[in-house]
Symmetry: C2
Subunit: 349 residues, 2 copies
């Protein structure tokens, strides 16, 4: 059996904390016997939840704190000394101190990014960390980054995102040679913003072993034209949220149609297998767990509104990333990129 993985959990982050944290751990422990957890948060609440969830109790240890990061706190406030004893900060610090292998939190995204950056620092060779997430497509799931870390990005930032996304897709999608695309407003070479065209050129001229497909457009995400969608954090965030919003619109149209027809209502009720499969595909909980890539430590952000199933998905994302030695692999690829660039600069001099 492989070595156990220990995760620190910010047990007080998220709308449904801490109950969804304990329940989520219970769910995960059914099929992942290699996971152990240190929960940071209100001891009394956590112990009473663990008392009625033996599956979770067997794999958890609680570290008490009665402080938590507020949902509306700014990143700059989150990294001040005053937040040292919050459940989020303690959970991140445990990774830094080598007590745990990674952290999962459903708390304030900006605070989690800021504290993780402060404690972990960026990975060697990475100029900007990014947030990477999974999206539903016609053929399964794809990976997109950056989905909110950096509102503006240089060509080199985008190239680094492509490298990190490539490895993330290998782990999370199990694809051998992920197809990578740069999100743009046309597939022709001359289209779009300068940094995107420059990033495409750097990738094409590099010795990186990326399966680069060039530019893709918004509709290509759903069509699964690529496995990795590379973009800046502003565009990625808008695309992700537009996708979520549209899924809700179409679901509402279908629901309205079903509610207006007794026949359809009955058919939906008595066709459980195919309806269940459809619901499963559309279930946002299956896409939960955005990761901060490019940091010298593993930090996974669960959706703030996640329930136990959603939180369990985020935990598994963190575990998979750690088992795969994700960060070591990124460092190696980035050495290749920057080594080549350095050599070229030397020659130019």
């Amino acid at each position: 059996m492989s070595k156990n993985i220990t995760l620190s959990i910010d047990a007080m982050g998220g709308e449904h904390s801490p109950s969804m944290v304990v329940e989520g751990i219970g769910v995960v422990s059914h099929h992942r016997s290699d996971l152990r957890f240190i929960l940071y948060g209100d001891e009394k609440k956590l112990n009473s939840l663990l008392a009625v969830n033996k599956d979770a109790k067997n794999v958890c240890r609680v570290v008490h704190t009665d402080e938590a990061i507020a949902e509306d706190i700014k990143p700059s406030q989150a990294i001040r000394n005053g937040s040292r004893n919050t459940s989020m900060r303690l959970a991140i610090q445990a990774v830094k101190d080598g007590e745990t292998d990674g952290v999962v939190s459903a708390g304030n995204t900006g605070a989690l990014m800021a504290i993780s950056k402060l404690c972990f620092r960026t990975l060697q060779g990475v100029h900007r960390p990014a947030i990477v997430g999974l999206l539903p497509t016609q053929q399964g799931r794809c990976v997109m980054l950056d989905i909110g870390g950096n509102t503006e990005c240089s060509a080199m930032n985008l190239v680094e995102f492509a490298i990190m996304g490539n490895i993330f897709a290998k782990v999370m999608l199990g694809v051998d040679n992920p197809r990578i695309g740069l999100l743009n407003i046309g597939s022709e070479e001359m289209k779009g913003r300068e940094e995107i065209r420059e990033a495409a050129q750097i990738i094409r001229e590099s010795s990186l072993s990326l399966n680069f497909q060039g530019f893709i457009e918004g509709h290509d995400i759903g069509a699964h034209k690529v496995d990795v969608v590379v973009t800046d954090g502003f565009t990625g965030n808008v695309a992700l949220k537009t996708l979520e919003g549209t899924a809700k619109v179409i679901s509402k149209f279908v629901k309205d149609a079903v509610m207006k027809s007794l026949l359809l209502k009955l058919a939906f009720k008595f066709a459980p297998a195919s309806v269940a499969e459809m619901r499963e595909k559309m279930d946002p909980r299956k896409y939960n767990g955005a990761m901060f890539v490019g940091l010298n430590g593993v930090a996974v952000k669960s959706h703030g509104g996640a329930d136990a199933i959603g939180f369990a998905t985020a935990i598994e994302t963190a575990a998979d990333i750690i088992s795969f030695k994700f960060n070591e692999k990124i460092t190696k690829e980035l050495e290749l990129l920057h080594e080549k660039n350095k050599t070229e600069q030397d020659i130019a001099i």
Copy 2:
């Protein structure tokens, strides 16, 4: 009865031209008796189509040309002298010469924008024309601009888009006081790119009578939080295409579920009223017709793949815009904006 409106039609643009052009005119003429058309294109083909479509024949005149703008031509090539006799160029020129009131084309978007800009020039007070379109939401339709005209925009460009979008929404959605939002990655004041924050400030401090709702996020589009979504042409294009792609993904999930269950298949077949209503709401043809706003002339772009119903929608968009004296209203509002800015600059000096 109000005065007749005459539209020039690029009859050779689009995948299904010229048949969908003639059929589309036939469809529109059933309920719009005030429209007349000059069709630019292959006389032989057009006359044989009109011979079997009396509704269209009664309201059309054909001007022959055997030249057309290619789908893959670049905007810079489209404005050269060599393209003077193409159906698109002639249709636009007719508006400029005062023969017609506006132009509709399903041809090459870049070419249409470039030739329209060249012939019409920008409207007084507009720094950058934009492309505006309609999107489906949970409560109906909303307006978004820019959806592809300008990959980068200044704060003042965005403010001008807000003014033009406001008037477009009044015409196309029939809303008295449209709610306007700037697309961003968070609703807090400090979020997002600088030009977006600056645009919000200019609108708030102006004497413009805009119903400004501040920042919105991607999911707010589908939730219909605002009637007008203001953004740069890069982000707008990505959001629009992501929305289209996601609608296809969800529709496929539903279709798959229906095909796998005989019960659901039958229910969908025998519940025609509510299913028809759902299909109607999801029908992309109902959202066809993107307009170039900010030009001193009316040019409407139909989707390249539009059929007769889609092309009919684009024709109606052009007709509505012309009846409403859209451009005159924009000019007046922009005078207000720039007058105030000028006064402030004078004071500053």
